[in-house]
């Protein structure tokens, strides 16, 4: 784009040979539409502590529908603690205390009248280690709908969930086989299908691929791209490259060490994933993603 200086003086006129392409305009429109954000969770000033020990302090961010949002950061940064706040899993730990607010569809998730069990129907979760029930493949997926009394067209629900989890073709001839006969990657997709069967609108994934081999990992990552068309996906991962590959938004958490040695998780930076991995705003993020973290 640099030109010889004596060339710069010639004046330029409006373009006749150019004309902006209709196709290019349409693509631009579509890109904008795709990036229109619908807030599903609005987190404001969240603190979590276990007894006297603070685990996470002052976290504020938003989770959007049809986005994959990744939480990354070193061990002890509170990212797993944080993801467990979204379906009130921390309620199951007696000493855990959550302060601040998480609004889900605009309503306070920790409000007096909110039933945590109801919350977990809408907000499914997948864990690091695949944890199918020691039952048949079919019964694993049918479990949720049965418990919720949604027994109409159970076969259809099971098939749809397995299709969405990209597992149907591999198991359709052996639905009565034990879930434990599946490979690790298949078991993880079964757990995702189990989530989907109750028709949630958010899927939380805590290290969903860290126990899997690279091929099974790729399948889970591809699956996330499929699922985000219908759901919001939130993922905790140790694997930065995984966040880079799959996430639209990335939150980087770190550990704040107080003078007394107390370690608390903090949110350092939350931004578009390409921003985080090309030009992060915070030096601590830069140090982490470039592998120069302490």
């Amino acid at each position: 784009m640099r030109r010889a200086p004596d060339m710069e003086s010639a004046p330029a006129a409006p373009v006749r040979i150019a004309g902006v392409d209709e196709k290019v305009l349409a693509e631009r429109e579509e890109r904008v539409a795709r990036h229109r954000r619908e807030v599903l969770f609005d987190v404001d000033g969240l603190h979590v502590s276990y007894g006297e020990v603070p685990a996470l302090k002052d976290v504020s961010l938003e989770i959007y529908r049809n986005f994959v949002t990744a939480f990354i950061g070193p061990s002890g940064c509170g990212k797993s603690t944080f993801i467990r706040c979204f379906n009130r899993m921390n309620d199951l730990i007696p000493s855990a205390a959550v302060e601040g607010t998480i609004r889900y569809h605009g309503a306070d998730l920790y409000g007096q009248d909110v039933d945590p069990v109801e919350v977990r129907k809408r907000i499914g979760m997948v864990f690091q280690k695949p944890n199918p029930f020691p039952k048949s493949i079919y019964d694993n997926v049918a479990f949720g709908p049965r418990v919720l009394g949604r027994k109409d067209d159970l076969d259809g629900r099971v098939e749809r969930a397995l299709q969405q989890a990209a597992l149907w073709d591999e198991v359709k001839h052996r639905l009565k086989a034990s879930a434990l006969s599946l490979s690790g990657g298949q078991q993880q997709r079964l757990c995702i299908a189990r989530c989907l069967a109750v028709e949630p609108d958010v899927i939380l994934m805590d290290e969903p691929a860290s126990a899997l081999d690279p091929i099974a990992t790729t399948r889970i990552e591809d699956l996330m791209q499929e699922l985000k068309r219908s759901y919001a996906i939130v993922i905790v991962t140790h694997n930065m490259q995984q966040a880079a590959r799959v996430a639209d938004m990335t939150a980087f958490f770190s550990v704040d060490v107080a003078e007394e040695g107390e370690r608390t998780g903090i949110l350092v930076e939350f931004d578009r994933t390409d921003k985080i991995f090309t030009q992060p705003s915070d030096q601590r993020t830069e140090d982490y993603v470039t592998g120069r973290f302490g």
């Binding site: 010639a10 006749r16 040979i17 790729t218 590959r245 090309t278």
Partner: protein, 227 residues
């Protein structure tokens, strides 16, 4: 389920499509510049100059797309070679469009002389050859065609010869000072077209790298006495 890493593949395909689109814009720029030169059409020359923004927009989009892809998708092997080839070809195309702008600006500065038929004929020939070379280079890329990429070196020899002929002719014409200034501008335009051809050869080298994995120059310019 879709093919593995569908998102990544889509991003790669989209980069390559944008590069092809950029080359089409460069072709339009070249045709515009040559037509303005032939017809002494100042208005068209101005349009070519303004049109460069369109090429620059693609250039920047590709730079940003590649930055993001490298940071997020960690391409390796043939994917990495493709990304690197696109990165280099992108710069060549952007430079080629700049050469068209330079030709248009020189044409405006050199107006007022009745066309020298031999000069016009040379430009006509060089313009058509340059156009053909863009086509060969970009098709070679699209089809991963090593032989087509390598054929650019021979095509470039023809444009080089036309350039040398034009330089000799302008020197022979000589004339008074304004005429010599005109001649100088014609030589620079010719040089632009010759450089345009060189860029297509460089694109061919990138195609060869993509196909074979081997980075090499088709010819060693530092040992080429005729350049």
């Amino acid at each position: 389920m879709t093919a593995p890493r569908a998102t990544f593949q889509e991003a790669l395909d989209s980069l390559e499509a944008t590069l092809q689109e950029e080359s089409q814009l460069v072709l339009r720029s070249l045709r515009g510049a040559m037509s303005a030169l032939r017809e002494q059409d100042v208005e068209l020359a101005d349009e070519v100059i303004a049109f460069d923004d369109e090429v620059d927009a693609r250039y920047l989009a590709l730079e940003q797309g590649i930055e993001s892809l490298l940071a997020r998708q960690t391409p390796v092997a043939v994917d990495l070679r493709l990304v690197l080839a696109i990165l280099h070809i992108n710069l060549h195309l952007e430079r080629m469009a700049d050469l068209c702008v330079t030709i248009s600006k020189l044409m405006k500065l050199a107006r007022g002389y009745e066309g020298d038929p031999q000069v016009l004929e040379s430009f006509e020939e060089m313009g058509l050859r340059a156009e053909e070379m863009v086509g060969v280079a970009m098709t070679a890329l699209a089809e991963r065609d090593l032989a087509a990429a390598e054929s650019l070196l021979e095509l470039d020899e023809l444009i080089d010869r036309a350039n040398r002929r034009l330089v000799r002719h302008v020197l022979e014409v000589g004339g008074d000072e304004p005429k010599r200034e005109w001649g100088l501008r014609m030589i620079v335009i010719s040089r632009c077209l010759e450089r345009f051809g060189d860029h297509t050869v460089d694109i061919g080298e990138q195609v060869a790298y993509l196909v074979t994995g081997e980075l090499r120059e088709f010819s060693d310019a530092s040992h080429d006495a005729t350049d």
